[in-house]
Amino acid sequence: MIENFILMNGYGLYVWLSFAITFLACGIIYYKTYKTLKKYEKDFIKEFDQLPESEKKLVLSKSKVASQVLATYNKSI
């Protein structure tokens, strides 16, 4: 039963390889996208930290994205 499932009447190599390549590619793209997002968030925070206190407050009050990035970054560290 299990042997039949793995061999798939001689087509196992093609079927399993197709599924493996698909899920591997999806995994790699997810990992790369996630890493890039975190890198950009980190760079944004670095840039933000260099601003004087008054400008920081201004940026946070004017930009929703800035406050969201700051909130998620603080949560993740």
């Binding site: 798939m8 997810y30 944004f44 400008e55 930009s63 800035a66 990035v69």
Partner: protein, 202 residues
């Protein structure tokens, strides 16, 4: 599980038909992604909305990945079915052309430094590439090809049994959810990149 265990083998192709559950949704997503990129590019040209360019830029890598997956899994399906990994068949060649359009679109964003110019060039590439979409769709009807004609039609004359259609639709749903996740992550990355560039002007 549905695709690998519960769905029946084909009476002619046997278990190799299971490759369909990754090949067909990949091809559909590749085609749909490029169509949406091209349509958004047209809208971007008309209405000059910058967000549309961010969206097209975020969709392109997902579309390229699924187009390549459709070609690779198609090749893996071709070997046991046709006896060859590759043939310069109309459907396969037009899919190859689609992947070239995706690469050109992505490269235009990577190589052109001026953002406005990069957006213009990539929009033109996407609009020209739109011509290839009906060619891919109807290639199996217009030419004698190794590739089989469509089994699933929107007009209700599908020739696929429900025991195969259900896992196929489930797989499509899962991959679409994955696409939505990647799209949102890429779009967020683009927004942060722009905000970072203009942080002192916010």
């Amino acid at each position: 599980m549905f695709a690998l265990l519960l769905s029946p083998p084909d009476y002619l192709q046997g278990d190799s038909v299971r490759i369909m559950y990754v090949h067909v949704p990949s091809a559909w997503i590749g085609l749909a992604s490029f169509t949406s990129i091209a349509l958004l590019s047209i809208l971007s040209f008309i209405f000059k909305i910058k967000n549309l360019n961010l969206i097209t830029k975020s969709i392109a890598p997902i579309g390229l990945m699924f187009t390549c997956l459709a070609i690779v899994t198609g090749s893996l399906w071709g070997k046991p079915t046709w006896g060859t990994w590759w043939a310069w068949d109309a459907r396969i060649t037009s899919m190859m052309v689609l992947s070239i359009f995706y690469i050109l679109f992505i490269l235009s964003h990577k190589l052109i430094e001026q953002e406005d110019k990069a957006n213009k060039v990539s929009n033109i590439i996407a609009i020209i590439g739109l011509i290839n979409i009906p060619v891919i769709k109807y290639s199996v009807d217009w030419w004698n090809t190794l590739h089989q004609p469509a089994s699933i039609k929107l007009d209700g004359t599908s020739t696929i049994h429900s025991s195969m259609l259900l896992p196929l639709m489930l797989m499509l749903l899962v991959l679409l959810l994955y696409c939505a996740l990647i799209l949102l992550m890429k779009y967020k990355t683009e927004i942060i990149r722009i905000k970072k560039k203009n942080i002192k002007r916010i």
